[in-house]
Symmetry: C2
């Protein structure tokens, strides 16, 4: 079965967590909206009056199933492609961690859009500065400190053991994204999370991920996505 | 088995979606942090260096399992207490909807805390006004319009059919909370979502929910929770 991924074609965004899982798994998939008429097909599926129309991208078509919400897609893919533990307890734990990453991603986005997603960044620069200061003072240490503790506590190669899960792939993306968006702040912060930095490097070196990152399938970071580089928000 | 729910004892907050599911199911549970030394026990579990320490409340202890993240807890409870469909497709769909509600709950919280959770509301009143205006202009119609379309499209008593799921319980709470926090705005808006208002009423009339809402187990809304009534943010 070839999966169909539907996501905004110009950005990594939330779709990237799904792309990384599909790539690590070596799964066959089409990134539909990046193809001709793909965006129109995506909008049409969201506008459906019957069935299970998703609220927003990303969503994944897997045979007859249409699955929305990033963490939900990963829950589905994880158990099918060895990217999550096999036990119920293990699956719930990894999903719980992904949902915590989901919360963090919202807060990353809100650094440049504290007044909401409808206004332009240019119209909320001053509040964005305040929110970003709090984000780095309080939130980054809290979230990344949590994952660092889990890594150190388990003493394992990956968060839940010797095999990577979709959570490890997502944490790679978090480190990569924070380095892009906040190069100065992140550089200063990384000494506090050596475990996470090591995890990032191990994921980046995995053959399928390495090939993906070097390919045109990986969309470069830019200022339309979640991670945006605005000099005034960095130090 | 008696479940142990761990959540901040003074507020409904995110714990309320779990409480409503436990109550509708008639499940035996202890709201641990509302008891003596309960808050200390809660903090201790989050500080654990081993096992699966949750990032934040709410979390549920079910035998040996400790499950965090509201939607994840509901995923677990749903399949055990008839509050979710039995098929995998149905379970993924209901979970997807819950995750969309989760996103909406963050945006509700951000109306009064656009500059982040660390600052007091009093220190972010002006940005809160702007965010709230955008919330009611753009986000409420988008989110609640989506659920209204699903209800109308299915023509069923509840979102996924004749039986209520945890999503219906959560939508009840959303309507109830918006009525509390924004009485004027919500009153004007409700004419656009008659299906949701009807759903709210059907949930409120269910015997277990009715008994719960009349009991002391239901914490009243207040200005420490997600839904806060600040006159200056209402019309």
């Amino acid at each position: 079965m070839t999966y169909e991924l539907y996501y905004w074609p110009e950005i990594q965004g939330r779709g990237e967590y799904v792309r990384l899982a599909l790539e690590e798994a070596g799964a066959a998939y089409v990134d539909v909206a990046r193809g001709r008429r793909g965006s129109a097909a995506m909008m049409k599926m969201m506008d459906a009056r019957k069935g299970t129309p998703p609220f927003a991208p990303p969503f994944l078509k897997a045979g007859k199933l249409v699955i929305g919400q990033t963490a939900n897609i990963l829950l589905y893919l994880g158990s099918r492609h060895g990217l999550a533990p096999k036990t119920e307890a293990g699956r719930l734990w990894v999903h719980q961690l992904q949902l915590t990453i989901t919360d963090f991603v919202v807060e990353i986005h809100d650094t440049h859009h504290p007044l909401g997603p409808s206004l332009y960044y240019e119209d909320q620069k001053a509040p964005a500065k305040k929110r970003t200061a709090d984000f780095w003072d309080e939130r980054v240490p809290k979230y990344l400190g949590y994952f660092e503790r889990l890594l150190v506590g388990s003493g394992a190669t990956y968060v839940t053991g010797r095999r990577p899960t979709y959570v490890d792939l997502s944490l790679f993306q978090i480190v990569e994204g924070l380095r892009y968006a906040f190069p100065k702040r992140m550089k200063a912060f990384e000494k506090d999370v050596p475990g996470l930095v090591g995890l990032h490097d191990r994921i980046a070196a995995r053959p399928n991920i390495k090939a993906y990152l070097a390919s045109e399938r990986r969309i470069p970071f830019n200022e339309q996505g979640i991670f945006r580089r605005y000099r005034e928000l960095d130090r």
